[in-house]
Symmetry: C2
Subunit: 569 residues, 2 copies
């Protein structure tokens, strides 16, 4: 299929396609989203108003099942941060969109005031299908109903009640390769923007679609092979296959960076009960309900995902990942995996980002709304979110709003977005990323935990964060998973060959960095025009003064160093 | 008494005085607050954290009972706007502070974690007095208890439960000349900053204090006489004496600018029941409980305040003013003065800004939390604020937070602060002030309603707002009431003579403008360093697209015009 720009207007009930503008052709994923936002959305627009647009953009090498490289980027001006946002996910949405020739899908136009709609896309085009029966339904039931209605081969991107309630912590959820609504464009409130246009789901039927053409199939395959070989050989790949991302719990705890009791400690006394080892042992003891190594996208060789089930054979949630274990586990002083898994399932069903939800619950516990460690009380609060009560709306709008309303100063956010499961006082390079990324606090924008540095040294972090941020902006444009970097970093020339094999552009060995820098420059330009200044590139004041046990470190990276993090020209 | 800087640290339980730094000597009120903030508070400081300071600064001509010129400015980095804030009030606080030689009182230092305190100031110095018995008490009972404890001659600045709950719409309330806690430093959440330091009240015993010296008493008296004569002769003075500020209700309604049903209309069908004429007629019919013309400060010749009582002889509230009639009356579709007066008393007792509280209630009604027009339901919601429930905290943090949490786009705020009772789509000059004032939406920063222009013409507003903002920044530094401008505008040389008579500085006829510009320049510098940009000098997007009945006007002042409003050099 020819790659085209698809546009959908719910209020006008119109879907149409357009040629790809020349300036968008050499972009994809995160970079294309930044370009479209600069071209079409006023940076000062009300994020919840009609001038904002919600954009789906598959990564540039999506479509050929290169391992971990079929991700879908979703972006907009974020209702959570007020700035540029891109949030990417695995699953099948990216692959199916590319097979229909979708370079970008742009949801735009007036905000409808009634109705609940599904946007159905296939090789003939797109149309809106009424879906009143799905209104208020949880993500899991919504996915099931849509599969029954549209057949088991479709891709689906959907929202839960949180998105319909237009809550700033609402995610968009994609089917994984096993048709489970499990892979989330989690961050930045993208689900609220589907809800604002009363769109419950996008259903993609790729029957009749085609893989995108390869200008030089041999070159592409050579790049793919080189990359896959290096990825398979990397020691981290085996660790992720065996332990999943949960392997990070023990690592972070040993660094004193595991968020515990609303980021008041970096060590959790029950870490051994929620570590990767504990998760693996639990899953090995429950072979009927667990799948210890599971791929979220077809063709992935890392298989860091999992299916987590109970001792009596029932599935609890898929996947159970480190960020949730940290934010919903140690951060709430909940030390057993079954409880964390059930809360994770509930958060998924409501359609929330589990990082933002866990951080908001941590703030709520600090405010005395429930006791740290009380998983049942946390579950009750989450049901308030589902019902859209005033208290639920406080929490569903994320940690920064919860802190503001509840009068709590210890709120772990940057640019209004909750930090992931790495306390920046003990992993300061990731703190630099939290502070300076145009995305707000986001570990996937430039995680530094694996660097061979003293993570407490404030002077050692700037170049580290800069490099990570540039690379990730590149990977997010390619459609590659953060873990794909294990392979690409060693496979010199692989990205060059994949791009030249796919498009014939004749790019060089620095292409990833060029793409990453160009992407960041567009994002920074959007944020500047939206009113962001260096004063926004800061961590909360309390993190600069309140020592974090057990290292008793504060975030003390110099402001002038922060301000040069994303300067390279 | 020699003018000195007083400092108080609750956590350290210390009060001390210092010489006035040279660069502070020629400043007072609003201008001095801006200077102190620039000198002592990091612009990016957490407003609710220990680096923020709460500053009282009497105006520069306070101390001699010049009519309407004994106002007290209170300022800080605002927890509501995140920017510079000054909020001034009448009553007796300013006069008594000056009589103790207080150039500025600065509340600073660590945030105490327990206790409730009164700061007692007299000619011997200051000390903290435990006041656990006042914790949670309403403003009226607090005032009464403090008068019983410290004698009837003291001045008092106190907070209600809203301040103790650290809510961003919390005010500070001062005794008026009749010892009623009635004159509020209403805007910008200054009460939350007393609450953050667990300070329930400042009690000022001026016994043994003295009027500030006059370098040239004859010159001062000449200036005072000239000003008072012109003030008395101004036709508006008579209107305010007879009708109070409520006279503005009919004026605004006739311009289509009376906020009605959460700023969805500029005309209220029941305006005749809440107008100045209606208020006057009601009060004339209730001579036992009402005082139709009442001075908030000793020596005031305008006497725009009032005491509003019921038909059965009970006092309801003092004063009942236009901003409350608009925001709590027409904005909530409540069309009877008794209900408005009772809600006003309740808002005062809780210790909230009635503009911010009314605007937040309007948003709540739009969100379906109660029906427009239902005063009893509004009262029940206000009790949620008093109790500090999650819903109460949503409303008590002001309209912008309420809109964000409740998912409402029609929120009448600028820089996070609610607009006063002039819809900017129909009085566009005041809209320019709302957008560009470093204070956020604040009519007292530059009201344009009395200008002889077409208020709907977007081109006619910039110079108007600029002049008003400069003059008001000057008056707010002098300690003059906004209505004092009626006199000063005609009394050429009066300000010059008052300042030269008081201080001997030899200032010229442009002194008010010089002072105003210097004040605004400091405030703008603080806000820039705090991260504000022209993107913050905007009204909400919906006000630029949603026509306001009955004029069907939108706010269409050009952005480039907004951006030159406060440029003069």
């Amino acid at each position: 299929m020819e790659m085209r720009v698809w546009r959908a207007d719910v209020a006008a009930q119109q879907v149409w396609t357009e040629d790809v503008p020349a300036s968008w052709e050499r972009l994809g994923g995160r970079g294309l989203i930044a370009r479209i936002l600069l071209d079409e959305v006023p940076p000062t627009a009300d994020p919840m108003g009609p001038k904002n647009k919600l954009i789906w953009a598959p990564g540039m090498i999506v479509g050929h099942m290169v391992s971990s490289c079929d991700r879908i980027s979703v972006g907009a001006k974020s209702p959570l941060t007020g700035g540029v946002k891109e949030s990417n996910a695995g699953g099948t949405t990216g692959l199916k969109m590319v097979h229909l020739g979708i370079k970008a899908l742009i949801l735009q136009g007036a905000l409808p005031t009634s109705g609940t709609w599904v946007l159905y896309l296939d090789a003939q085009g797109g149309r809106f299908v009424p879906a009143e029966d799905l209104a208020g339904l949880g993500a899991y039931a919504t996915g099931q109903r849509l599969l029954e209605r549209f057949g088991s081969k479709v891709g689906i991107a959907l929202i839960g009640p949180a998105g319909e309630l237009r809550l700033a912590a609402a995610c968009i959820t994609n089917l994984d390769k096993d048709r489970e609504p499990a892979r989330k464009n989690a961050r930045g409130g993208m689900g609220a923007l589907m809800g604002a246009r009363r769109l419950k789901a996008v259903v993609i039927d790729a029957a009749g679609g085609t893989k995108p053409p390869l200008v030089d199939a041999g070159l592409f395959k050579a790049g793919q092979k080189l990359y896959t070989t290096e990825l398979m050989a990397h020691p981290q790949t085996a660790i992720y296959r065996d332990y999943g991302t949960a392997a990070l719990a023990a690592v972070c705890d040993s660094l004193g960076a595991l968020p515990t009791r609303n980021f008041s400690s970096g060590h959790f006394e029950l870490v051994d009960q929620i570590s990767g080892e504990a998760l693996r042992d639990t899953m090995l003891a429950r072979p009927d309900s667990c799948d210890i190594s599971h791929a979220c996208m077809a063709g992935c060789t890392i298989r860091s995902s999992n299916v987590f089930g109970s001792a009596d054979g029932e599935k609890i949630v898929s996947p159970l990942e480190y960020e949730t274990i940290g934010l919903v586990g140690s951060n709430l002083a909940i030390g057993d995996l079954d409880s964390i898994g059930r809360l994770n399932h509930q958060i998924n069903d409501i359609g929330l980002d589990s990082i933002e939800a866990g951080a908001a619950l941590g703030v709520a516990a600090e405010a005395g709304l429930f006791a740290f460690g009380d998983a049942e009380a946390a579950a009750r609060l989450l049901e308030e979110v589902r019902r859209g009560t005033p208290l639920g709306r406080i929490l569903g709008n994320g940690a920064a709003v919860a802190g503001k309303v509840l009068g709590i100063r210890r709120v772990p956010t940057a640019k209004g977005q909750a930090m992931a499961s790495y306390d920046p006082r003990a992993i300061k390079g990731t703190g630099v990323t939290y502070a300076t990324s145009p995305m707000g606090a986001d570990h996937t924008a430039g995680l530094t935990i694996r660097a061979n540095v003293d993570h407490l040294d404030p002077k050692a972090q700037i170049e580290l964060s800069r490099t990570a941020q540039i690379n990730m902006a590149g990977y997010d444009s390619l459609g590659a998973c953060i873990f794909g970097g294990f392979g690409f970093a060693k496979a010199t020339g692989a990205i060059r060959d994949l791009i030249n094999g796919r498009y014939g552009w004749g790019v060089g060995d620095d292409y990833l960095q060029e793409l990453g820098k160009a992407t960041l420059e567009m994002e920074l330009a959007f944020n500047r025009a939206a009113g962001f200044t260096p004063a926004d590139d800061r961590l909360p004041e309390w993190m600069t003064t309140e020592p974090l046990p057990p290292t008793n470190s504060v975030f003390d990276v110099a402001l002038e160093d922060l301000d040069r993090t994303l300067q390279w020209s």
